[in-house]
């Protein structure tokens, strides 16, 4: 894994119109091929970080440098908590959407969509509408669409939150398998410490209002990880570190 930074978040702050601060003096470097997970108490600004990175929300202060320029910024893909599939389009048509909006030719759209559907094992449901899919399949289609444009950076805002534990674990493994083939940087927001440790190579624990970096926990296990790794002492050790950090953050929030 290279250590060349792809995204540099420098002293970023975010305040709402009423003056309340969500993020304050938040700084972080995210390297190429990094998998970073943000975790913290409710309202600590985890999702806000992703929205700032995607350009969905303006900064109140500080700066975000997309090293490599505008092109990389445009090659960032956002996966929302809800699958956000367009209900009037089939699975294939949904996956084609970002390519269509980018002005890709019909052939390119078709080639890319078929390749990505094969990768995510969606070919058999390509003609189905979202209404005809299970929650797991919808999330799978949403992830596939997110990767259709071959993004350099994937921003994942709790994409597995609404899924049952079995589907969630399965999709985590799938995500890792796909990442091995597509090589993208990933930033994940999650409430699940186990999910963060399993997927990320760095878990960023945030403080409560306003959100700042409290602790960074490195997870040295190499990617791709197998589900069996969750049964090992190394996983438990990393998980305990994250849980303890979260407890410390919550204790500090109660005292302040």
């Amino acid at each position: 894994m290279t250590t060349k930074p792809q995204l540099r978040i420098i002293n970023v702050s975010k305040r709402y119109a009423n003056g309340s601060a969500v993020l304050d003096d938040f700084s972080l470097d995210i390297a190429n091929d990094d998998f970073v997970a943000f975790i913290g108490p409710r309202g600590c600004g985890k999702s806000t970080i992703l929205r700032l990175l995607a350009g969905l929300t303006p900064l109140s202060g500080g700066n975000i440098e997309h090293l490599g320029g505008e092109e990389i910024h445009r090659r960032t893909s956002f996966i929302f908590q809800e699958p956000t599939l367009l209900p009037w389009r089939t699975v294939e048509s949904n996956i084609r959407l970002p390519l269509e909006l980018r002005g890709a030719s019909k052939d390119e759209q078709e080639d890319q969509a078929h390749e990505i559907m094969k990768l995510w094992e969606l070919s058999h449901v390509s003609e189905r509408y979202p209404l005809q899919l299970s929650a797991g399949m919808k999330t799978r289609a949403s992830l596939a669409r997110g990767l259709a444009t071959a993004p350099r950076c994937l921003l994942l805002d709790e994409p597995f939150a609404a899924l049952d534990a079995i589907t969630r674990n399965k999709l985590c493994v799938e995500l890792m398998r796909v990442r091995e083939k597509r090589h993208f940087t990933a930033c994940l927001v999650t409430h699940s410490a186990a999910e963060a440790v399993f997927l990320a190579n760095r878990v960023i624990v945030l403080t409560a209002n306003p959100g700042r970096v409290a602790e960074i926990i490195e997870v040295p296990e190499t990617h791709p990880r197998k589900l069996a790794w969750r049964e090992t002492n190394a996983f438990q050790e990393a998980l305990n570190q994250v849980r303890n950090a979260l407890n410390r953050v919550q204790e500090a929030a109660k005292q302040s």
């Binding site: 350009g55 956002f78 929302f80 367009l86 209900p87 009037w88 909006l101 980018r102 509408y129």
Partner: protein, 256 residues
Amino acid sequence: MRLNLILPILVAIVGMIVWACLALIDTGLNSLPGPLATADALWADRKAIFPALGRDAAAMVLGFLLACALGVLSAIVLTTYQGLRLALAPWMTIARMAPIAALAPLLIVSPCPAFLTLLIVTTVACYFPVVSVATPALLATDKSLLDLFKTYHASYWQQIVHLRLPHALPQLMTAIKRAAIYAPMASLLTDYLAGALAGKPGLGRLLSEYFVGQNYPAIVALCLSAAAVGVLLAGTVHAITAWTLMHWHDNENGQA
């Protein structure tokens, strides 16, 4: 055969029997002709009724289509320009509330040919229900879907074509169904009020002639013919609605 086909046919048969009985027995409704007398009158006056029906139906369908197109275009303009929307919103509401019986005489301008008058009144009567529903529907697009399009750097027109319009389609089709009900009423009423201007009489003009001549079977025949055209228009719109929404909209899929 499905219940939604059998039951209306049964109701029609029962209605015909009740109608025939009421015409036969002494109910005090001496002017109510039976089904056979009505059919006879329709056949006898076919050379007057059908051309009039054709002219009114043409104005009705053209006016309806024009109103739908103008209504959707206006809604897009109002969605785009907030200032214009704020300035026009109260007047749109007032115009929508105004009954067509009050509007029609104002819109009947003597220099206009009768067909054009019919077209204008039908268009105005159908336009307001469409624009008053389409505008808020276009504005009520799911925020997460709008965010998704922002992450794709979609242009405003891409957003309108690929997101706002299809998202608003269920409400839009409901408004168009309502407009399809107003169209025959507006057409018949205008012709009744403005028929004297025309070289060739429409249904409204014929209706007033039949009243003067106390030709009650012809009046019923004429009303039923006009209703049949209205039902045909509303049925076509209903079928188009079902076809466009059947794969992805809960109500059209019977899953609501």
